[in-house]
Symmetry: C2
Subunit: 404 residues, 2 copies
Amino acid sequence: SSKKGGAAPVKEFKDIMDGLKSIYQTKIKPLEQAYSFDQFHSPFLTNADIGAKPMVLLVGQYSVGKSTFVKYILEKEYPGCHIGPEPTTDRFVAIMNGEERVIPGNAAAVSTELPFTALTRFGASFLSKFQVSSLSTPVLEDVVIIDTPGILSGEKQRLQRGYDFTAVIEWFAERADMILLLFDAHKLDISDEFKRAIGALRGHDEKIRVVLNKADMVSGQQLLRVYGAMMWSLGKVVQTPEVMRVYIGSFWDNPPQHKDCEMLLKAEQQDLLNDLSTLPRNAAVRKINEIVKRTRMAKVHALIVSHCREQMPAMFGQSKKQTELINNLEGEFEKIARQHQLVRGDFPDPNRFKEKLAMFKIEKFPKLDKKMLALVDEALGIDLPKLLSDFPQTQAIVPTIMQN
Amino acid sequence: SSKKGGAAPVKEFKDIMDGLKSIYQTKIKPLEQAYSFDQFHSPFLTNADIGAKPMVLLVGQYSVGKSTFVKYILEKEYPGCHIGPEPTTDRFVAIMNGEERVIPGNAAAVSTELPFTALTRFGASFLSKFQVSSLSTPVLEDVVIIDTPGILSGEKQRLQRGYDFTAVIEWFAERADMILLLFDAHKLDISDEFKRAIGALRGHDEKIRVVLNKADMVSGQQLLRVYGAMMWSLGKVVQTPEVMRVYIGSFWDNPPQHKDCEMLLKAEQQDLLNDLSTLPRNAAVRKINEIVKRTRMAKVHALIVSHCREQMPAMFGQSKKQTELINNLEGEFEKIARQHQLVRGDFPDPNRFKEKLAMFKIEKFPKLDKKMLALVDEALGIDLPKLLSDFPQTQAIVPTIMQN
Ligand SMILES: Nc1ncnc2c1ncn2[C@@H]1O[C@H](COP(=O)(O)OP(=O)(O)OP(=O)(O)O)[C@@H](O)[C@H]1O
Ligand SMILES: Nc1ncnc2c1ncn2[C@@H]1O[C@H](COP(=O)(O)OP(=O)(O)OP(=O)(O)O)[C@@H](O)[C@H]1O
Ligand SMILES: [Mg+2]
Ligand SMILES: [Mg+2]
């Protein structure tokens, strides 16, 4: 995949994720388990959760070249790929690393190995229009790509889908790390359903990159007009004053039709590939940050629970003491914060915590396990910062959206 | 001025205007005068009214290159022109054909030879910031150019002007045939006052052309970003869904800084010059149409008044008859329409007409002058259509705004 220089994603992503998994499993999860962190806050993380790859979502009118774009990035077609001038892709396809095969939507949605169980909420008629296509290619070691059915103009087409297209786009947009919004320079058409889809992306503006595809199909001057018209319309639809980053190019391997902007398009294509290649790195940084946040929560949690445990009498009056502790929980938080030099902002909401705590027998929790705590402090103080500093600190980590 | 091919405006404009003046003076005005058309509808046209040249208005931030653009078009500086990196042009300048000189605003506003008497309404502090600069150059045989002071950011600057800048822009926009809205590719900045100025152009969208100037000062990719950002912002400010026509170029004679878009910019510049060169032609067509409309009104007017005149008794009961005619004016309109095969839509508003007619003694009007009427019919049936058909019917007459 050396052919497209920047497209080769940074090799460190998998290594860093492996490091993160091992830190979590050996130093953080034991403390979470000892004090039932999952019951109070959020489920324990699986290796699949931590290693989940950055997701790239493609959105655009039919025939804009979404599936061809995927082929360009992968340097081959994914299993079940259809490319053609008519509306072709009729389903959502999650393209992932693995042996070459197609997993139908219903099977994919029940597999706990795959991050798609939540899709069952969109119903059987959606699942019959969803599939996972796996194949083995370097790019997929670092990202998951979501190809989607083309957006069609006209209300009738929309109703025939049998599921809520906009809601599905919203679900994927929420989880995606980058959203590529494709337009066709050769046939610019911003339908009402496309506008609704753009509306569904609201709140994720910083993830969106606009791609003006098939740019070589028109002359330089026509391209200017189309690009201007697109920006004019987008400015009206998208509420933010910040201009979206646009890449103008022709994402397939055919020779260009018009050559007057050849250099420009090449430079733009390379920029988009570079942008994509920063995804794993940025996703890794974001994940480390999330784990750091979670670990601090888990530590505070363990200190609270073990502090309460220490107050419990050995045999009699346990229930009375539990009620007393819960009633005075804010006071106990003060004491813990003072004793361990923590800021009150790191503490959970006392009322929600009281409700949860009431469901346990406090005396059943272990006392403070100093060794476990030491491991967590090590993760926070040494291991996680080291993982971060292993990155060469390039500007790639800075969100690129406003660099124009 | 052959150097800029398309810039040389069509030579026929003056000839056509001369033809129009002569048709009006010899065949139409006599009828208008005989039946006091001016008292009922609008003043008689002067040769200056008919021959008034198409007006091009320049609007933009300071230092965007407005005055340099004028120099580029004229191929020389106009008297009193200032060009420089600081805010330079401090006044509105009407650049017209004539011997090389400057006419200060107060003098210009009292000259009935010039179309600026209405500017007195903006007050003395405005007139001290207005001037006419005349010089002799081919382009000015066909157009008048209005150079304007640059728009400045900041409320303070706005207040210091001492006159209502936006209202003045509005006045010129109303009269202009083309409005060039200039932006600087090198320093894009859409200030609040600029937005207000764009607001003042509302309703004249079809006259507006956007010029992205100094386009060679940045690389091709940067130019794309700037252009996109401009369209994004303009789309938010301008209400119409139709995209404004944009010309990207560098309107001076210096060699380009960046050469990666040289061909494109050249083509764009040429397109703008072509667009400008269609102005006289389009203005001439519009004027002929206006005169046709006016002549039909004048004919109907003459038929009404002379018809009423014919009903008047020779000596007694004139006043009674006049009242009767006025009261039954709608009925008389019916009769006239039937007799001369006219449609009722060509008739004036009866109530306004009654009011005016009441101020005259109908018996003082001449009876229908068949010779005058024949002249008007000749103008409508032969002379004016001939003037129109003298144009080679190119698409230049079609408004170019939506041809992208
Ligand atoms: N860069 C390009 N330049 C010109 N034509 C292209 C380009 N990319 C794709 N095409 C052509 O456009 C057509 C549509 O391509 P493709 O099937 O990839 O679009 P799509 O967006 O996936 O459509 P659908 O939404 O129907 O799945 C095909 O005929 C393809 O060969
Ligand atoms: N096409 C161009 N490329 C680069 N620089 C330019 C170009 N046109 C003009 N300039 C430079 O920009 C500066 C401002 O030009 P000019 O005075 O014509 O602007 P202006 O819009 O008339 O400003 P003002 O509103 O202050 O009158 C000058 O230094 C001029 O030489
Ligand atoms: Mg497809
Ligand atoms: Mg100036």
